[in-house]
C-alpha cells in the first residue's frame, strides 16, 4: 500500500464551475495557463532565472504530490520533482504552447522520469529511456498569436471539464492517473467490474472529445 487514501473531494475543491465558452477573438480574460506559458518562453528566450523560480514554486510541490500518490518515498518524490523542473529549464525551447499547457508538459516530464526511475530500480545500470519520451518535442512555435490564444482557451476549457466530470467517471480517471496499479486492481478497489472501469474511462474521454469538437 502506498499510503494514498482516496479522497473524492480533493480534486474538485476550490475550483469554480466551468466558465462559459470563450469564442471571440481578443478575449479580455486571459486563461490561467497563459502566464505559465509566458514564463517558460522567458526561460527559453532569455534564460530568465526569476521566471524559472516562479515555475518552480508553482509546479515542484505539485509534481511532488503526484509522485507521492504514485507511491514514491518522500525523498525520491522531492528529488524527482526537482529533476522534473530542471528538465523544464533544459527543454524550455522545445515547449510548444499550442500543443500543450505547461501543466500538461510538466505532467509528461514527471511521468517519464517516474517511469525511468522505476526501470532503474528493476534493472540497475539500465540505459536511460531516451525513446520513451512520448511527448513530441516540436520546434518552438511561430508567432501566431490567434492560434495560441485559441489553444490556451481550449486548454482552459478542457481543464475545467476534467474537474467537473461526473463523479463516477472522475473517480476512475483519477485512480488511473494517481495509482500505479493495473485496471484490474482499480476494479477491486472500487468494487466494480473491470468492464465498468473501462467503460467509465471511455465515457469520460468521449465527453471531453465532444466538448472540444463542439467548440473548435
Amino acid at each position: 500500500m502506498n499510503g494514498f487514501v482516496y479522497q473524492p473531494e480533493y480534486a474538485l475543491a476550490g475550483y469554480a464551475p466551468p466558465r462559459a465558452p470563450l469564442r471571440r477573438r481578443g478575449v479580455t480574460r486571459p486563461p490561467g495557463g497563459a502566464e505559465f506559458a509566458r514564463l517558460v518562453q522567458a526561460v527559453a528566450a532569455a534564460r530568465d532565472r526569476s521566471a524559472f523560480a516562479r515555475l518552480y514554486e508553482h509546479f515542484a510541490p505539485r509534481v511532488k504530490s503526484y509522485l507521492l500518490r504514485l507511491g514514491a518515498g518522500a525523498g525520491q518524490a522531492e528529488e524527482l520533482a526537482q529533476e522534473a523542473l530542471l528538465s523544464v529549464w533544459a527543454k524550455a525551447a522545445y515547449f510548444d504552447p499550442e500543443k500543450a499547457s505547461v501543466a500538461t508538459w510538466v505532467f509528461t516530464i514527471a511521468r517519464n522520469l517516474h517511469i525511468d526511475a522505476r526501470r532503474r530500480e528493476r534493472t540497475p545500470g539500465g540505459m536511460a529511456a531516451g525513446l520513451e519520451v512520448m511527448l513530441e518535442e516540436a520546434a518552438p512555435a511561430q508567432d501566431a498569436a490567434d492560434m495560441l490564444l485559441m489553444a490556451l482557451e481550449q486548454q482552459e476549457r478542457l481543464r475545467s471539464a476534467v474537474l467537473t466530470l461526473p463523479a463516477d467517471q472522475a473517480e476512475v480517471v483519477r485512480l488511473c492517473f494517481f495509482q500505479d496499479k493495473p485496471h484490474a486492481e482499480i476494479e477491486r478497489e472500487l468494487g466494480i467490474p473491470l468492464g465498468t472501469v473501462k467503460s467509465r474511462l471511455r465515457l469520460a474521454l468521449a465527453r471531453l472529445r465532444r466538448l472540444l469538437d463542439a467548440q473548435i
Partner: protein, 215 residues
C-alpha cells in the same frame, strides 16, 4: 498505410498515465508512430493528466530546494544522446524507431514456419516482448491468453476471428479471447507482441510445444 484496428481508449489512457509495463509501452509506441488518430487521443489523455496535476494540493518542497535547483542550472547541459541506428528485422525491413533501443536478436525457430526474437524476457517484471515471424499462409496453433496481449503488425498481414490485421494495426486480446491467426499469402507476417503472461495452447500437441515456445 491504412490502419483499421486501434487500441481501446482505456488502454491509451493507461499509456498516457504511465501505467503500462515496458513491453506494452513499446507496442503502443509502435502503433502510435503510424496512427495520428490515437496520437490525438493520447494528447487528450495527457491534457487530463496536466489538469489533474494542476489541481493537486501542493506538498511543500524542502526549504533549500529552490536554491539547490538554481545552483544546478549553472551545470553544463547534458548533450542529448543520438538515437541508435535502426537494425534490420528482415531483408529490406529496418526496425521501427520504438525498437532501436533493443539489441538485435536472432530469429529462432519455434514451430515450422514460425520464428521468434525475444526482446524482453517474460520474468523481468516489464512484460514479455517478442517479435514473431510467420511464413505466408501459415495457420498458428489455436491459443488463448491468460492475460492481456497487445500485437502490432510490422509487415505482412494476418487474419483471425476479429478481422484482418495489416501493418500498423493493433490487436488487443485478453483472457476471454481464443484465436487462431492465419498469415496472409504474399510475404512473411512480422508482428511485435507484448504479453503479460504465458500463452495457453489448446490441444495435446500444442501443449507439448508450450515449453519450447516459452512465450
Amino acid at each position: 498505410m491504412r490502419i483499421t484496428h486501434h487500441p481501446d481508449d482505456s488502454t491509451l489512457l493507461a499509456h498516457a498515465a504511465g501505467r503500462l509495463n515496458r513491453a506494452a509501452r513499446v507496442v503502443l509506441a509502435t502503433h502510435l508512430a503510424s496512427c495520428p488518430q490515437c496520437r490525438e487521443t493520447v494528447r487528450l489523455c495527457e491534457a487530463i493528466g496536466g489538469a489533474l496535476l494542476e489541481a493537486l494540493p501542493p506538498t511543500p518542497m524542502a526549504a533549500d530546494s529552490l536554491a539547490h535547483a538554481l545552483a544546478r542550472l549553472e551545470l553544463p547541459a547534458v548533450k542529448p544522446v543520438n538515437a541508435p541506428h535502426p537494425w534490420m528485422l528482415a531483408e529490406g525491413l529496418p526496425c521501427p524507431p520504438s525498437l532501436r533501443d533493443f539489441t538485435p536478436g536472432r530469429w529462432r525457430a519455434m514451430l515450422p514456419g514460425i520464428s521468434r526474437i525475444q526482446l524482453l524476457p517474460p520474468n523481468a517484471g516489464e512484460g514479455s516482448l517478442y517479435l514473431l515471424r510467420i511464413a505466408p499462409g501459415k495457420r498458428m496453433p489455436k491459443h488463448g491468453h491468460t492475460a492481456r496481449e497487445l500485437t502490432c503488425v510490422l509487415a505482412g498481414a494476418y487474419c483471425d476471428g476479429l478481422g484482418e490485421f495489416g501493418p500498423g494495426d493493433l490487436s488487443e486480446a485478453d483472457a476471454a479471447h481464443d484465436h487462431q491467426p492465419v498469415s496472409a499469402p504474399g510475404g512473411d507476417c512480422i508482428c511485435l507482441i507484448a504479453s503479460d503472461a504465458k500463452l495457453r495452447f489448446e490441444g495435446r500437441v500444442a501443449r507439448l510445444l508450450q515449453p519450447l515456445a516459452g512465450v
